[in-house]
């Protein structure tokens, strides 16, 4: 951590006289450095332990959980989410499906399983560890979220409509920040997420470790925190709305080889 802080400090000092372009280059260098020293692997290992750990009233692990490729099949499963699941009759992303397995396989209550879906610096959440592990099993597999079942198409269309829906105290939609090319907030570049070329590298690297707050973050968290900053009320975890948005973004990014979990600023 001290090393990261020192890096930020040095960057800050060199950036001021150099100008915005040079600052950008420095940030790219910094991003490369943090990727090399990323602790993502530790999250993957802890996730594997949790995947195999018997839990809940039924005292079973999640190893029989069907993420879409058959019970317990992890290879390439994440790259094909979100998708329609017949047993639940709805489209589910990774976290929604994990929650489904926790309640059905392990017999846990929804309240207990969702008590702490987003962790903090001191204590990551079970969802975050599990997401790291399961996503890592799709490295190299091309993103191919479900886009053929009527409910998948419906989710895509709803996600698209949500993306452009302006509301809240500040009149914002997702497109307010992610709707025009070559824009940024402060120094942060903003990908135009309804366009494939911009969505692909982003969706191929979530979930991700965020260096700025030393936490591993999931896609459900990413959407949640965007809505917080948009001055909206809070999206419910694993809701149809968040799954629809995730479907829209992942279908837009289709074809990109998955290379996460990523490391972000």
């Amino acid at each position: 951590m001290t090393r990261f802080s020192a890096t930020i400090l040095v960057l800050g000092l060199t950036a001021i006289p150099a100008g915005a372009q040079d600052t950008k280059k420095e940030i790219q260098k910094y991003q490369q450095m943090i990727a090399e020293g990323s602790p993502v692997e530790l999250f993957e290992l802890e996730g594997e332990t949790l995947w195999k750990k018997p839990q809940g009233p039924n005292n079973v692990s999640l190893e029989k959980c069907d993420l879409g490729q058959g019970p317990g099949v992890l290879k390439g499963a994440y790259a094909r989410l979100p998708r329609y699941f017949k047993d639940a009759d709805r489209v589910m992303d990774l976290e929604t499906r994990l929650l489904h397995c926790m309640t059905t396989l392990q017999g846990r209550s929804r309240d207990e399983a969702t008590k702490r879906v987003f962790g903090n610096e001191n204590q990551p959440s079970e969802m975050e560890y599990l997401s790291a592990y399961i996503a890592s099993q799709s490295r190299g597999v091309r993103l191919a979220a479900g886009n053929s079942h009527p409910k998948e198409k419906e989710a895509y269309e709803l996600g698209k409509a949500l993306f452009f829906y302006r509301a809240g105290a500040w009149d914002m939609s997702c497109a307010s920040c992610h709707g025009e090319d070559n824009k940024r907030i402060r120094m942060q570049d903003l990908p135009v997420l309804y366009k494939p070329q911009a969505a692909r590298p982003i969706m191929a690297t979530w979930p991700a470790y965020r260096v700025s707050n030393s936490q591993f973050k999931t896609m459900q968290w990413r959407l949640n925190d965007c809505y917080r900053q948009m001055r909206f009320p809070e999206p419910k975890f694993a809701s149809e709305a968040t799954n629809a948005l995730n479907t829209f973004l992942t279908v837009t990014a289709a074809g990109e080889p998955y290379r996460g979990p990523g490391t972000k600023r």
Binding site: A15, I16, G19, A20, T23, E154, E157, L158, K160, A161, L162, F164, Y165, R166, A167, G168, A169, W170, D171, M172, S173, S176, C177, E180, N182, K183, R184, I185, R186, M187, Q188, L190, Y227, R228, Q229, R231, F232, P233, E234, P235, K236, S239, E240, A241, T242, A244
Partner: protein
């Protein structure tokens, strides 16, 4: 004629599977109030509806009408509108206010640097909005300009219906006093925005 063509193009372009009303119902079901972020926020007002429907390209006649309505929401204080640019700089730097984890009733900021370049000393600025560097130096700071800048910050939609800029006064984010301080930051010749 141009307006007609534009409207026709818009109508054919908007082939939403979900109408905004349907989306609103989904949001009412799938979102929850938290802190000061209450559920009434997912309900669109007329302007948000028009901008969503038209992908931020409203038919110009309608836009002019709705902009005029927005202009009426602005309560211009009497006298000079140029406040303290030093306080304005702090308001422009900060990003607090109106999120579900901001303390209700606590002073908010303008989040200005998120989207605009202002003082040249601040290298970390966003580009969603235009650069405002040297704004007052280039445009002067007479009563009309003061009024325009105050109004634009108070309710940006009065000047450009589907602007991405929040209605900072109208939404209750900033007080009239804070907006005057921001006007000072943009128009005071002593402000770093204008100092050569």
């Amino acid at each position: 004629m141009r307006t007609l063509l534009l409207s026709a193009a818009l109508l054919s372009g908007i082939a939403w599977a979900q109408s905004p009303v349907d989306v609103q119902k989904v949001l009412q079901r799938d979102f929850q109030a938290r802190g000061q972020a209450t559920m009434d926020r997912v309900v669109q007002d007329g302007l948000q509806r028009v901008c969503t429907d038209s992908h931020d390209r409203p038919p110009s006649d309608l836009a002019r009408q709705l902009e005029a309505d927005q202009l009426k929401t602005i309560d211009f204080p009497p006298g000079s509108l140029i406040g303290d640019w030093k306080r304005g700089e702090r308001i422009a730097q900060g990003g607090r206010g109106l999120t579900w984890n901001d303390k209700p009733g606590a002073p908010a900021d303008g989040s200005c640097y998120n989207c605009h370049q202002l003082s040249p000393q601040e290298m970390s600025y966003g580009t969603i909005g235009p650069s405002l560097l040297r704004f007052g130096w280039m445009r002067g700071n007479g009563p009309e300009m003061q009024r325009y800048v105050y109004g634009k910050i108070y309710n940006a939609k009065a000047y450009n219906l589907c602007s991405q800029m929040p209605r900072l006064g109208h939404s209750g984010t900033l007080t009239p006093e804070q907006i005057k301080d921001l006007v000072g930051l943009l128009l005071d010749p002593e402000s770093p925005v204008n100092k050569q």
